[in-house]
């Protein structure tokens, strides 16, 4: 027994300084690296968003149209690939082993690689801006995050940088997805059957399946793009008998499931938070798991609803329209379960709960406006207008980003062992909610009035709503500094010590461990009855 304790104590030591983080194979360290990286990139993407809204504040040109296009493109790519995806992957790395009672991830060395491929990818995305300052190339990729051919075939140096960034980010997400699936399949604690797993783990299992199904075709697509650009092939080049619409199919075969890859992990964290702060068990566990499966399967067969205006025959438009609308059924089941979970609960409104409730409202708006866009006839009007921009920000900020922030506040005391400043957290929430709605509600009206997306300048009748939207964006952007301040304070050790259970109603294996949990946990797996 004594020897065993000595052994444990030895394991609790870890290297310090840079090498600890560079070579770490510990799931908690890697989880923290992912989350830290994601916050930095969230701020980078946020600064780009502020530049976009500054350009659109008044009808006049501050930047050249080319630079504006580069800013919107890099904003999109950074937010999707370098901010939201690493955040959910980080939560998965930190939480899944603790939630299923495993000592670590199944493939720790691979896990280290998975993370360290990301920073170079982020550098590749942003570097063309810096190279441009030194007179090399003409700036970053400027095609929009969808990289549509033929524009991406003709574009400058920035497109190549983006292609290689996609390679790195693809390799990173594939490695982490494989790791997560192997961990969930092989390393659950004795007695934890698949249908006893926490819902967050289920949501990530479906997400990981989606990633390994749809990221490789995108990698194939950008490889074709690279070949078209440099090696004389004509996959997307009409002059050689190729077809630019092929790129749209390849991209959206990835791009639509990608929306659910961003979303699902946060729909998985929702029941945890809602049940904690309403002090009730999760309602409809099985219904939610089956809904995840339904969403996962449907998400890969609806991609061409992004292409209603590309000249598809009516039969195909009808199929993609009905298939898309069908997704609202499993999503509505999730909403129903969330409502039923908090129904008649003894709710309290700590910051994570506020963000979770905000998620329901904002993502609800995103989902309902998505139904409008999925109508093939109505889409002819809304396509590529600001209505679409507002819709997908409600779906992607209102969903994943709100969910990630909720999860961050929810697990922060567990991870750091310190309670954050609740007052600042509440300020952060209300300022975010007001700023976000002020930014994007005007954009619905701008879109209906006919303002197209991806333009740096606009007609005078759009001026008032755009100014309102920009003011909202500044409120939203500055609100996130409160989060950063709160995080820094907690990491410096300011704040009340967190208890083991952290929140009064919190359930699950992760809340049986001390806060912060020791470096190695569940080396002897718990038995679930």
């Amino acid at each position: 027994m004594n020897a065993a304790h000595a052994h444990d104590a030895h394991h609790d030591e870890h290297p310090s300084g840079m090498t600890r983080w560079l070579f770490t194979t510990n799931h908690k360290d890697i989880g923290r690296l992912y989350i830290g990286f994601s916050i930095i990139m969230f701020l980078v993407g946020g600064i780009l968003a502020m530049l976009i809204r500054t350009e659109l504040l008044k009808p006049q040109l501050l930047f050249s149209p080319e630079l504006y296009n580069q800013i919107i493109t890099v904003h999109g790519l950074v937010m999707v690939f370098a901010a939201v995806m690493p955040a959910t992957t980080g939560l998965a790395n930190y939480l899944i082993p603790m939630m299923i009672g495993a000592p670590d991830m199944a493939l720790p060395r691979l896990n280290n690689w998975g993370f360290w491929l990301l920073p170079p990818a982020a550098v590749l995305l942003v570097m063309p801006f810096i190279l441009m300052l030194f007179g090399i190339g003409n700036g970053a990729i400027d095609t929009g995050w969808t990289m549509y051919a033929p524009l991406s075939v003709q574009g400058g140096l920035g497109v190549d940088f983006a292609i290689f960034a996609v390679y790195l980010m693809g390799a990173s997400s594939l490695l982490s997805s494989i790791n997560i699936i192997v961990t969930i399949f092989n390393m659950r604690a004795p007695g934890m059957t698949m249908m006893k797993m926490p819902i967050f783990v289920w949501s990530w299992l479906i997400t990981a399946f989606l990633l390994i199904a749809v990221f490789p075709p995108l990698v194939a697509g950008v490889t074709m793009l690279l070949a078209d650009r440099h090696f004389g092939t004509h996959f997307f080049n009409a002059a050689g008998g190729g077809d630019p619409v092929l790129w749209e199919h390849l991209f959206w075969f990835f791009g639509h499931p990608e929306v659910y890859i961003l979303l699902l992990p946060t729909t998985g964290i929702m029941p945890h938070i809602l049940s904690t702060f309403s002090r009730k068990p999760v309602y409809g566990y099985k219904a939610q798991v089956y809904s995840f499966w339904a969403i996962g399967v449907l998400s890969v067969v609806v991609w061409a609803h992004h292409m209603f205006t590309s000249g598809m025959p009516v039969a195909a438009q009808l199929y993609f329209m009905y298939a898309t609308m069908a997704i609202s059924i499993p999503v509505a089941i999730l909403f129903f379960c969330w409502f039923a979970t908090i129904w008649q609960g003894s709710m309290t409104f700590e910051t994570p709960m506020l963000f979770a409730l905000g998620y329901i409202v904002l993502f609800g708006v995103g989902g309902l406006t998505g139904l409008i866009l999925s109508d093939a006839v109505a889409d002819q009007q809304y396509h590529n207008s600001y209505f679409l921009v507002a819709h997908f920000h409600y779906a992607l900020f209102g969903g994943p980003v709100m969910g990630i922030i909720a999860a961050t506040y929810y697990y922060l005391p567990k991870i750091t062992g310190r309670m954050y400043n609740e007052t600042l957290g509440k300020w952060h929430f209300w300022q975010t909610l007001i700023g976000f709605n002020l930014t994007f509600i005007p954009q619905f009206f701008l879109g209906i009035a006919g303002m197209p997306r991806r333009i740096p300048d606009y007609a005078l009748q759009f001026a008032h709503l755009n100014m309102l939207s920009s003011v909202g964006a500044y409120i939203l952007g500055s609100a996130q500094l409160l989060l950063v301040y709160n995080l820094i304070q907690v990491m410096r050790g300011v704040g009340k010590k967190a208890t083991t259970q952290v929140w009064e109603g919190a359930q699950g294996l992760e809340f049986t461990l001390p806060s912060p949990p020791p470096y190695h946990t569940f080396e002897t797996q718990p038995v679930i009855q």
């Binding site: 000592p103 199944a106 493939l107 594939l174 997805s177 494989i178 699936i181 192997v182 399949f185 092989n186 604690a189 004795p190 006893k196 926490p198 390994i212 199904a213 749809v214 990221f215 490789p216 075709p217 995108l218 990698v219 194939a220 697509g221 074709m224 090696f231 004389g232 996959f235 009409a238 002059a239 050689g240 008998g241 077809d243 619409v245 092929l246 199919h249 390849l250 075969f253 049940s275 068990p281 999760v282 000249g311 598809m312 025959p313 195909a316 359930q507 699950g508 294996l509 049986t512 080396e523 002897t524 797996q525 718990p526 038995v527 679930i528 009855q529």
Partner: protein, 195 residues
């Protein structure tokens, strides 16, 4: 979530032994094969997509030229008329003039018809281009049959040269009754030499 957790450490599951490692390897291997499979699927989408378009006539793809023997014994349907319109486009990068001989021809389905496009190069240097054709409406595309066509061939036109590009076609008698007109579009793209 009433889960009972046995907090006392039971010796049931030790650290990963060799069998567990083998278990990880197997699942990892299967998943890696799936990843490679879907990577291949991305490339397979190119021929799949092309044959799907040819089969359905999506995107105005007409399929390759048909053999002359295919028209032997084919009877023209004198009761029906289809108006076939011709358009021409020269893409940026070529200095050519490119016009159809007829703006439209009224044909009977099943009757072989000849027409041509006129192309000339008024510039002072030879240029190479390649014509891409498509047909609208998309669902009529597979009923537009070419016996002779100048599409998808590289053509080099010398400075000041003019040329007649022949097009021999017929509209299949199986074309749906409600299609009364077809537009055939030809576009000349410049051919860039990759060195």
């Amino acid at each position: 979530m009433d889960r009972h957790v046995d907090s006392g450490r039971t010796p049931s599951a030790g650290p990963a032994g060799p069998t567990e490692g083998g278990h990880h390897r197997r699942v990892t291997f299967i998943l890696a094969v799936v990843v490679l499979g879907f990577f291949g699927f991305g490339f397979a989408l190119v021929p799949l997509y092309n044959s799907f378009c040819k089969l359905t006539g999506l995107n105005g793809k007409t399929g390759g030229p048909v053999e002359a023997s295919a028209v032997v014994g084919m009877k023209a349907d004198r009761a029906r008329e289809v108006k076939v319109g011709f358009t021409s486009t020269v893409m940026p990068g070529l200095n050519w003039r490119f016009k159809p001989l007829h703006n439209y021809i009224v044909v009977h389905p099943g009757a072989v018809t000849r027409t041509s496009y006129l192309v000339s190069n008024p510039s002072n240097h030879a240029e190479t281009g390649q014509a891409i054709m498509s047909v609208v409406p998309g669902r009529a595309a597979r009923y537009f049959k070419k016996l002779e066509c100048f599409c998808f061939h590289q053509e080099t036109i010398k400075a000041g040269e003019s040329r007649n590009m022949r097009l021999v076609f017929f509209v299949s008698p199986h074309i749906p009754k409600d299609v009364r007109s077809i537009i055939v579009s030809y576009a000349f793209f410049p051919v860039k030499k990759h060195t």
